[in-house]
């Protein structure tokens, strides 16, 4: 059997940090030497336990402090943020659109009362009056039905 493998060399072998030819020599030795194989297994087990250690994310409080100190946004970035449609801007935009529409309606609508021409009504009234269709005096006492019958007969 060849000499035992140097401990540090064995550690480097476990880390995959030795050249290919040295790696082959170590592997060949490990097949024959129980002591070195046990030592290598011990190192590998410890390494595995270390490798399986979880990674923690920096706490939110720490990130808040770091961002507050090292992430001062530029003016152009701030302006871009302001003009980017966001959850705030969408309802504000909708409200502004409604307000603009109402303002437009108020401004364009005429505030003068509608002038209705009474001339056709007056003309119609005069015509009916001329044709004696408009009852005069007390409607109950007038012979309205007879007048209406006479009018029908006339137009027929």
């Amino acid at each position: 059997m060849t000499e035992h493998i140097d401990a540090i060399q064995l550690s480097r072998y476990v880390d995959g940090e030795i050249p290919r030819d040295a790696q082959d020599a170590v592997e060949q030795h490990l097949l024959d030497c129980v002591l070195c194989a046990e030592q290598m297994q011990g190192l590998r087990d410890t390494k595995l336990r270390l490798v399986s250690m979880p990674h923690h994310v920096a706490p939110a409080e720490l990130m808040r402090k770091l961002k507050g100190r090292y992430m001062k946004p530029s003016w152009s970035h701030r302006i871009r943020i302001w003009f980017t449609p966001s959850q705030v801007w969408k309802p504000v935009g909708a409200l502004a659109a409604v307000a603009a529409a109402m303002a437009l309606w108020v401004l364009t609508a005429s505030h003068e009362p509608d002038v209705v021409s009474l001339a056709p009504l007056v003309a119609a009234h005069s015509r009916y009056e001329a044709e004696s269709l408009v009852p005069s005096g007390d409607i109950l006492s007038s012979d309205y039905s007879a007048q209406l019958a006479a009018y029908h007969a006339q137009i027929r």
Partner: protein, 194 residues
């Protein structure tokens, strides 16, 4: 930061991602070094402040998080030295008050509890506890290679030593760690049986 230090870039999503990634890596490293979440957060803030202050010294050909980890490591070593200098006292000297029987009754033990709530698995708790018992240089080498996944070369740059020293520290660190882990597991089994 030094990679993107213009005011235009400092607000971009890329910059935010970079900051988050560096902060995560730095926090994990600090957590393994100090073993305490609050201390780790303070260390990360200090490291970022130093990095920002000396951003002109940053070599853009190297990853930013490796540079921050180097600053973090130096900060931790300085803090440890300062602490040891300020708090070193002979255990044979008389305690400050007559009521106390010895220095060991007064001096605080290792602060383990603040990180316990974060540890989800039994393996993590044991390995973390075992790591805290290792000498700083072994702990740093093992953490950077096996947990952080850095190369020998990067570790050498962070710790300011050669690749040979890195592999030696890694090997010694793992051997020690293996012993401590098996001791802790035996102790845990005994405690559970009792």
């Amino acid at each position: 930061m030094a990679e993107k230090n213009s005011s235009e870039q400092s607000g971009s999503p890329d910059y935010e991602t970079l900051l988050q990634r560096c902060a995560d890596k730095a926090y994990n490293f600090a957590l393994r070094l100090s073993g305490n979440s609050v201390e780790a957060q303070d260390m990360v803030q200090e490291a970022f402040a130093r990095a920002f202050e000396h951003r002109n010294k940053y070599d853009p050909s190297r990853p930013l998080d490796a540079w921050i980890n180097k600053i973090l490591f130096n900060l931790y070593i300085d803090a440890q030295r300062r602490y040891e200098k300020r708090h070193s006292v002979s255990l044979d000297s008389p305690p400050p008050t007559e009521n106390d029987s010895s220095w060991s009754d007064i001096l605080p033990g290792p602060d383990r509890e603040p990180i316990d709530f974060m540890m989800k698995s039994e393996n993590e708790k044991i390995v973390h506890e075992a790591l805290q018992t290792l000498p700083l240089h072994y702990r740093t080498a093992v953490t950077l290679f096996d947990i952080e996944g850095r190369s020998y070369e990067e570790i050498g740059k962070i710790m300011g030593c050669g690749i040979g020293t890195v592999s030696s520290r890694l090997h010694q660190g793992r051997l020690l760690l293996k012993k401590v882990i098996s001791k802790l597991e035996k102790h845990g089994e005994v405690a559970r049986r009792d």
